[in-house]
């Protein structure tokens, strides 16, 4: 793993070195040690995937390294030969630890194969959640500001309707004034009518009173002028008229 780091850093380091001095005879100036500015931010992005590994242990670069000379089976032959050499020469002795090693390695490999993707997904989810939280904050801020913009536009539109509002208010006030004026006019009319009616009533009453008085006076005088002689005569005449009428009525029936 460290070798891969060195391999990756090598081109950048080589580029960072100054070019070899070309001109012969020029006075050799002091070599610059830092040609690139080291800055901490922005950090270079992490590689998306780790290095390619075969069988979980051996980096792919090893196979690529041996490919030109030995082809595809080269590294496997090397591995097999190495293992057989170690076993046959008893450089590695097969003892109880080998069996224990077999067991623990099988447990580890089973664990990695079975739970590896889940654990990786969990780690990715943790990172995603972290980013989502920050993004949520940013998005909420943006949404809030956009809502504020909408509100502001609405307020501006409302301001445009100011004149209508004032017209309506003006009309309102004019109507109130008109209504008030009419009301007062009505009141004046009623008051005047009341007074005129009073006068008329007074005149009517006066005339009535005069009439009544006159009728009473005439009646009084007439009754006074009726002598007893005239009374007898009128009563006799009435009786005769009644008799004649009753005769006429009998005949009709």
């Amino acid at each position: 793993m460290l070798s891969r780091l060195v391999l990756r850093a090598a081109p950048a380091a080589l580029r960072a070195l100054p070019p070899p001095p070309v001109a012969v005879g020029v006075l050799h100036a002091t070599r610059q040690l830092h040609t690139t500015q080291q800055s901490l931010a922005p950090l270079p992005p992490l590689p998306e995937k780790g290095g390619e590994v075969r069988h979980g242990l051996i980096p792919e670069e090893f196979f690529q390294f041996l490919y030109p000379k030995t082809g595809v089976t080269g590294p496997y032959m090397l591995g097999t030969g190495l293992v057989l050499y170690l076993l046959s020469k008893e450089i590695y002795v097969v003892n109880h630890e080998t069996v224990a090693a077999l067991c623990i390695l099988s447990v580890i490999i089973y664990g990695v194969k079975r739970f590896g993707p889940d654990v990786a997904a969990f780690a990715d989810k943790l990172n995603e959640e972290k980013m989502a939280k920050a993004l949520a904050v940013k998005n909420e801020a943006i949404e809030g500001l956009q809502a504020a913009i909408e509100e502001e536009k609405k307020e501006q539109w409302r301001v445009e309707g100011r004149s209508y509002l004032f017209d309506a208010k003006r009309n309102n006030v004019a109507m109130l004034l008109e209504a008030n004026y009419r009301e007062r006019l009505m009141m004046v009319y009623n008051e005047v009518k009341k007074r005129l009616d009073y006068q008329v009533a007074m005149q009517t009453l006066k005339r009535q009173k005069e009439q009544d008085h006159m009728i009473q006076w005439v009646e009084k005088n007439v009754i006074q002028s009726i002598t007893p002689q005239q009374q007898k005569e009128s009563i006799a005449k009435c009786i005769l008229d009644l008799k004649a009428l009753s005769k006429g009525a009998h005949a009709a029936v």
């Binding site: 901490l40 003892n95 630890e97 069996v99 090693a101 780690a123 980013m131």
Partner: protein, 227 residues
């Protein structure tokens, strides 16, 4: 390399230089240190998550004063966990099988909790020696018993860890020897023994994790009583 059963428990030394220190420092090489990135790679994310988990687990029952112990308890936890799990690999030496190391971890930490309790709240911490609701005639006997149990705690902590790990490793050795020896004689029985060994290995993985957790948990419990 012919091994006897107890070679794995011998403290390794090379030309008279004790190598146990290097083997104790090895776990630190396995954990990447947090870098200045906000979104880190998977290993670092998982490591931070795990550390957060155990710190929260240990510190929730403690008061604010107890949070001073967060660093030492979580680092102890990671240390023991890693050492125990690494010891399951073949041909590795497990420092926690050495009683000296476990006592050296248990004694000072337990003593620290005890002295903290005696210093800051002496009557409360001594009051733990007598459980509530004991009948009066039993009190003297119970005080003696509780004091003994208090004083035996560091020994218990150290010996528990040592015994569990040593026994586990020894069992693995024995059963794998049985498997190896039986292989030419009775292969079927050898396969049976191999299956037992597989189960035992899984058990040992669990025991390794549990023992580390129990060690740190008990220490945090003792701290809770005394802080």
């Amino acid at each position: 390399m012919n091994l006897s059963f107890f070679d794995q428990f011998m403290s390794p030394s090379l030309l008279g230089i004790p190598l146990i220190l290097i083997s104790m420092l090895f776990p630190t090489l396995l954990y990447p240190s947090p870098n200045s990135r906000w979104i880190t790679n998977r290993l670092l994310t998982l490591q931070s998550w795990f550390l957060h988990l155990i710190t929260k687990q240990l510190m929730t029952p403690l008061t604010k004063k107890g949070h001073k112990w967060a660093l030492i308890l979580s680092s102890l936890m990671i240390f023991l966990l890693t050492i125990n799990l690494l010891g399951l690999l073949p041909y590795t030496f497990t420092p926690t099988t050495q009683l000296s190391m476990n006592l050296a971890l248990a004694f000072p930490l337990w003593l620290a909790t005890l002295l903290t309790g005696l210093r800051n709240q002496p009557s409360a911490s001594l009051g733990h020696l007598l459980p509530e609701g004991t009948p009066t005639p039993l009190i003297p006997a119970l005080i003696l018993i509780e004091t003994t149990s208090l004083l035996i705690r560091p020994l218990a902590l150290g010996v528990r860890l040592t015994a569990n790990l040593t026994a586990g490793h020894l069992l693995i050795q024995l059963i794998s020897t049985a498997t190896t020896v039986l292989l030419p004689i009775m292969p079927a029985v050898s396969l049976l023994t191999l299956s037992i060994l597989l189960l035992l290995t899984i058990l040992e993985v669990a025991v390794a994790m549990i023992q580390a957790y129990v060690f740190v948990l008990l220490l945090s419990l003792y701290l809770q009583e005394n802080i």
